[in-house]
Symmetry: C2
């Protein structure tokens, strides 16, 4: 067993209550624990940066989903990049940079039997920065890659629309679709994001949904004159309905998420234009990135190649406040305030 | 050119007005015309039986769909079986039994250039009765066959649910799925239909949706303990939502129709449980039977084989009132009053 300099106290954020609608301060509790020492086969990881994701809102709800909910009183689940601080596991040495489900805490003690479940894996900072390992090379990038390639089935010349275009998944979906030869139209909130999506990411157009429902409808009509062949949906709600009304024959819709609906206190808004699937012989398919875990290395290799050769770029929005800043930082996602992949920096 | 005994007057039903909600008497007009004689290459068909289909309601609406709407003042579109009464076309002789888009009229004059478009084709009454040629061997059967086989992808041991189970499409979907080795659960309206579906068609269970939403939910839970692998949806609305809540991983939903929504005067009810597609990695795909036209012969051969060897049966609900009975007969579909494939008998 080897160790490094380790703090004595581990600050943690726990789920205190199941939120109704948008999470509030009372839904969280803050705890301190002594930093544990590793037992046989375990790994102690110091958290450096945590990934803040829309999916976290779903994990806070009770009930069956694609993953069990976070239990009341448990440390909030979060993926992150860290540095191995102590190891009794043969595959990890002190100082190794790793990705895994670390949780919203400064130190994650991962027992031997939980190493696989937490997805703990060494990462190579030559392939991408810490931020990129939580973005293009992390879950959002994997989601973009397999959703687009396995469900979207992009063909050169086809038109792809992606919502949340400036967000973590959207930025990679659109850039990858451009590389695959598609015409790419983003939907994002505000002129600054739309400008960046077109000028920096190279999308063919970007529609500002904050300009209103009519602007979204008109924008889709103007920028997708042949209809939409692929829609990568991160938001649901009215935007999903607007795209359904513009499908091309044989269109594929990837249901990746529905951030517009996650904090509803009323039932989810179902897509009232879903019969467009019939008219246009189109399909709508859901995906969960974890199903593709055995193919992550292939996607990481391809995407890191694009980062290296300059065909792809990325943007991270880093909140530098330690774990105590987690509750407020998370809300930025649901308010559309993040610009790029939202990351919470916990340590250097 | 050959001719047979032909009446002098052709009675027709035309679309006079676009319905709002359920069609009413004022939406139709009744006309009489002299029966035309055939010009070079044309065919005159005497209508024997017409197919009454939920899709007709969509054809009455303005606006783009998978097929142009029926124009105001035009004879209402309908598929039917008829007998060639006069022919100047080399492929058809007087007395031939044919299927085609005949319209709600006693005689259909099909000019040479419209023969292909109307789908006019000779039928063999040794393969099935006139009623069966409008049911199992006609559009409903083709819809059932290609929807199930091409989109549903049935595997032995999997659970299929079909709504409108006693209807034209549903009866063939369920029987074919049984032949392919699936566990089959129907949803139909009323005890009589449910009894027939289980006892005569051999479904494993049938849920009576008229017993209420809770009964549908409980029925799905009881009869689909491993979840629903394939849902063939003819109805939409609350039943679609109830099935979405019971999907098995990797489920396929075939969107064939949504009879519960066709007469809405409010927006279509979107499936509020659509995010179940994500949780269960499931897909929802629309279909239009006309896309499979070049493969109809294959399906007819297979299905008529099952009718002959007794592995499949069919039920037609024949209204015997001539074309004047069309408006009232059509409403039986939307009121769920038909028991089996609804057919309007026009002549012997």
């Amino acid at each position: 067993m080897s160790t490094a300099n380790i703090a004595s106290v581990n600050h943690q954020v726990r789920l205190a209550r199941r939120p109704k609608g948008m999470p509030v301060a009372e839904d969280w509790s803050f705890t301190e624990e002594p930093v544990s020492s590793v037992a046989d086969g375990g790994v102690l990881v110091q958290t450096l940066s945590l990934s803040l994701d829309p999916a976290m809102r779903g994990w806070m709800n009770e009930g069956k989903s694609y993953i069990p909910p976070v239990g009341l009183g448990e440390v909030m689940r979060a993926g992150g990049v860290g540095r191995v601080a102590a190891s009794a596991h043969p595959a990890f040495a002190v100082g190794d940079m790793v990705y895994g489900t670390l949780g919203v805490q400064e130190y994650a003690l991962i027992p031997k039997e939980a190493v696989a479940r937490s997805g703990l894996a060494k990462i190579d900072l030559a392939a991408g920065s810490v931020g990129q390992w939580l973005n293009v090379l992390g879950m959002p990038g994997m989601t973009a890659y397999f959703g687009l390639m396995d469900i979207g089935l992009p063909l050169p010349g086809q038109t792809l629309v992606v919502s949340g275009a400036a967000g973590a998944v959207g930025q990679t979906v659109g850039q990858l679709a451009k590389i695959k030869g598609c015409r790419v139209v983003g939907i994002a909130g505000g002129a600054a994001k739309c400008d960046w999506v077109v000028k920096e990411l190279g999308f063919d157009a970007c529609i500002d949904y904050k300009a209103g429902e009519a602007a979204v409808r008109e924008g889709l009509k103007a920028h997708c004159p042949q209809g939409v062949d692929i829609y990568f949906d991160n938001v649901g709600g009215d935007i999903l309905d607007a795209v359904l009304a513009r499908l091309a024959r044989g269109a594929r819709i990837i249901i990746c998420g529905a951030i517009s609906q996650y904090n509803n206190t009323t039932p989810v808004q179902g897509p009232k234009n879903y019969l467009s699937l019939l008219v246009h012989r189109a399909s709508m398919k859901g995906m969960v990135v974890f199903d593709y875990a055995d193919r992550y290395p292939q996607a990481v290799a391809e995407l890191s190649g694009y980062l290296r050769d300059g065909r792809m770029t990325s943007r991270e929005d880093v909140v530098d406040g330690g774990v105590a800043a987690f509750p407020d930082a998370l809300l930025r996602l649901f308010e559309g305030k993040n610009f790029g992949k939202l990351i919470l920096k916990v340590a250097d």
